[in-house]
C-alpha cells in the first residue's frame, strides 16, 4: 500500500510540473479573450519553456556561484512545496510528512534565494525588485499563517490532508472558513505576483516586482525561474480549490478515484483561473505603496476568521 501511495505522490508531483504551464496558458487565453484579442494558444507557455531550455544561458561577469545555483534551488523548493499540497488524492505520504507551516517555510526559502539572486548581479532593477518582494512577502506571510491557523483551529490539525478530510467529513457553512478563504485569496494574489500587486505581463516597467529580479537571467536559468513561478500559481490554486471546495478529490488510490480527482481538480482550476483572469481584467494595478493596505486587509480577514471561529463556532 505504501508503495502505491508513494507512487501516487510521485505521479502527483510530476502532474504539478506538467500542469503548471497549462494553467498560465489558460489564464492568458481567457484574459486575451476578455480584451477582444485572440491570444496565444493555451500551450504557448510549454513552447516558451522549451525554447528557453535549449537556449544558451548567459551569465553576467559580476555574478557569483549563487546566481547560477539559485534557479535550481528556487525550482526544487517550490516543487517540493507543491508536492505536499494534495492535488488529486488526499491521503498522500508527502502531505503526511509536511504540514502547512512547512509549506510556508519552503515557499519562504524559495523566495529568499530568489531575492538573493535578484541582488547578486548588482543591477538597480534587481535590488529594487528584491526589496519590493521582501516588503510584500513580509506582510503576506503573517496573513497566510493567520488564515492557516484559522483552518487548523477548526480541523485541530495543521496537516493539509487532515484539514481537507475534515472539510469533506463535516461540511458546514463556517464564517471562519469564509474569511480565511478571502484572506488566502488576497495572499495568493500578492504572493504569485498577479495584477493588483504586480503585473505578470510586463517585462520593463518601473513598478515590476517579480520580473525585476529575473531581468539578468536567460536560457535554462530563466526557464526554471518561470517554471517555478508557474508552479507557485498552481500550488496556490490547488490549495484554495482543494481546501475550500474539496468535493471530488480522490479518497483512495484506486484508478477510478484518481481519475475523478483529476477531473474535479481540473474543473476547479479552470474555474479559478477564469475568475483570476476576470479579476485581472477588471482591476488596475495598485501603486506599490498601497500594497501594504491590500495585505492589511488580508490580515484583517484572517484575523476576523480566527475571531469568528472563537466567537461564533465554539460557543459555550
Amino acid at each position: 500500500m505504501t508503495a502505491v501511495a508513494w507512487g501516487a505522490a510521485l505521479l502527483q508531483a510530476l502532474l504539478y510540473a506538467a500542469l503548471a504551464p497549462l494553467l498560465v496558458g489558460w489564464i492568458r487565453k481567457v484574459k486575451a479573450r476578455l480584451q477582444n484579442r485572440r491570444g496565444a494558444p493555451v500551450l504557448q507557455p510549454y513552447r516558451d519553456l522549451r525554447k528557453l531550455l535549449v537556449k544558451e544561458a548567459r551569465v553576467a561577469h559580476t555574478a557569483s556561484p549563487l546566481f547560477r545555483a539559485a534557479p535550481y534551488i528556487v525550482f526544487v523548493t517550490t516543487w517540493l512545496a507543491a508536492s505536499t499540497v494534495p492535488l488529486v488524492a488526499v491521503s498522500l505520504p508527502t502531505a503526511a510528512i509536511a504540514d502547512i507551516i512547512v509549506l510556508v517555510g519552503l515557499l519562504a526559502l524559495a523566495r529568499f534565494f530568489l531575492a538573493l539572486a535578484g541582488m547578486d548581479v548588482g543591477t538597480a532593477f534587481g535590488g529594487m525588485g528584491a526589496s519590493r518582494e521582501m516588503l510584500v512577502s513580509a506582510l503576506a506571510e503573517p496573513a497566510m499563517l493567520m488564515a492557516v491557523f484559522t483552518l487548523a483551529m477548526s480541523a485541530h490539525s495543521t496537516n493539509l490532508a487532515s484539514v481537507i478530510d475534515y472539510q469533506l467529513g463535516a461540511f458546514a457553512l463556517r464564517p471562519s472558513f469564509l474569511f480565511a478563504l478571502g484572506g488566502l485569496i488576497l495572499v495568493a494574489i500578492a504572493e504569485t505576483g498577479r495584477i493588483p500587486v504586480d503585473n505578470p505581463a510586463t517585462h520593463l516597467e518601473l513598478t515590476m516586482i517579480h520580473e525585476a529580479m529575473l531581468l539578468e537571467y536567460s536560457g535554462r536559468h530563466l526557464a526554471l525561474m518561470e517554471w517555478a513561478a508557474q508552479l507557485k500559481l498552481l500550488l496556490y490554486g490547488a490549495l484554495i480549490a482543494n481546501i475550500f471546495f474539496p468535493w471530488g478529490i480522490g479518497q483512495s488510490f484506486t484508478p477510478a478515484d484518481l481519475g475523478i480527482g483529476l477531473a474535479a481538480v481540473f474543473l476547479k482550476l479552470l474555474a479559478l483561473g477564469a475568475a483570476l483572469a476576470i479579476g485581472e481584467t477588471v482591476l488596475a494595478k495598485m501603486r506599490l505603496f498601497r500594497a501594504p493596505a491590500f495585505l492589511n486587509l488580508a490580515l484583517l480577514l484572517a484575523l476576523l476568521g480566527l475571531l469568528s471561529h472563537v466567537i461564533l463556532e465554539v460557543g459555550a
Partner: protein, 244 residues
C-alpha cells in the same frame, strides 16, 4: 456548539452575522465617503437578512416586519438621504483617510475581543443558537463608537452613529428575539428624525466653519493666517479639498 450540529438556516445566520461585523470594519477604514455610505447600506441589508432568517427559524413572526422596516429604513432610505446630502454638500468625491489606519483597525479588533470577553457569562447561560451573535452585535456597537471618535468628518461620524444603532438592533434580535413592535417603531422613527436633524446640522456646521471637519469646532478663535486661508477659498471644490 459546532456549526455542523446546526441546521442550515442557523448556519446562514452565523455567516451573515460575521459579514455584518466585517462591514463594520469596512465602514471604519473606508476613506471614500460614498463608498462608506454604500457599506452602511450593505450592513443594514445584512442586518435585515439576519432578522429574516432568525424569523424563519423560530416562531417569531413579528420579526419579519422588523426586517422589512430595517431594510427600508437602514438599507434604502437613510443611505439615500446621506447620498443626497453628500452630493448637495459637494462631498461625493471627498476622501478622508484615517491617520493611522492599521492602529485603528487593531483597536477595533481589540474591541471585538473585549466584547467577546464581556458577553462570555451571558453565552454560558443556555439560550437559543443566536446567543453567539450577542458578542458580534456588541462589537458592532463599539466599533461604531470608535468610528465616531476617530473620524473627523461629520458625515462619517453620523455613519458610525447609525451603525451603532444597527448593532443594538442586532443585539435585540439575537438576545431576545426582537423588541416589542411599539418600541421598534419608536426607535425607527427616532433614527429617521435624527437623520433629518443631522442633515440640518451639516448645513449649519458648514455655514459656520466652512467645512464639515468637526475638529475645527474645538478651536474657539481663528488665528490670523487661518482667516486669510479661509478668505482665499471661494469655490466649493477648494473647500472639499481642504476638508481632509
Amino acid at each position: 456548539m459546532s456549526p455542523t450540529l446546526l441546521p442550515l438556516l442557523q448556519q446562514i445566520v452565523l455567516v451573515l452575522a460575521a459579514i455584518v461585523l466585517f462591514t463594520s470594519f469596512v465602514l471604519l477604514a473606508q476613506a471614500r465617503l460614498v463608498a462608506a455610505i454604500h457599506a452602511f447600506a450593505w450592513q443594514g441589508a445584512l442586518v435585515a437578512a439576519v432578522t429574516t432568517v432568525v424569523a424563519a427559524t423560530g416562531q417569531t413572526h413579528h420579526l419579519y416586519f422588523s426586517a422589512l422596516l430595517t431594510l427600508v429604513l437602514k438599507a434604502l432610505l437613510i443611505p439615500w438621504m446621506l447620498h443626497r446630502l453628500t452630493r448637495r454638500l459637494a462631498l461625493d468625491r471627498h476622501v478622508e483617510s484615517l491617520h493611522r489606519p492599521a492602529l485603528v483597525i487593531m483597536a477595533a479588533v481589540a474591541l471585538v475581543i473585549f466584547s467577546y470577553w464581556l458577553v462570555l457569562p451571558i453565552v454560558q447561560q443556555e439560550m437559543t443558537f443566536t446567543r453567539n451573535i450577542v458578542a458580534i452585535s456588541l462589537a458592532v456597537v463599539l466599533i461604531g463608537l470608535l468610528m465616531m471618535v476617530f473620524r473627523q468628518q461629520a458625515v462619517a461620524q453620523v455613519l458610525g452613529f447609525m451603525s451603532m444603532e444597527n448593532g443594538l438592533f442586532l443585539a435585540a434580535v439575537s438576545a431576545t428575539a426582537g423588541m416589542p413592535l411599539v418600541v421598534e417603531l419608536g426607535v425607527a422613527f427616532d433614527v429617521l428624525v435624527a437623520m433629518v436633524l443631522f442633515g440640518v446640522f451639516f448645513f449649519q456646521i458648514r455655514e459656520s466653519i466652512d467645512s464639515l471637519d468637526v475638529d475645527r469646532l474645538n478651536r474657539l478663535t481663528e488665528t490670523a493666517e487661518e482667516g486669510i486661508v479661509a478668505a482665499g477659498r471661494t469655490t466649493p471644490r477648494a473647500v472639499a479639498g481642504e476638508d481632509g
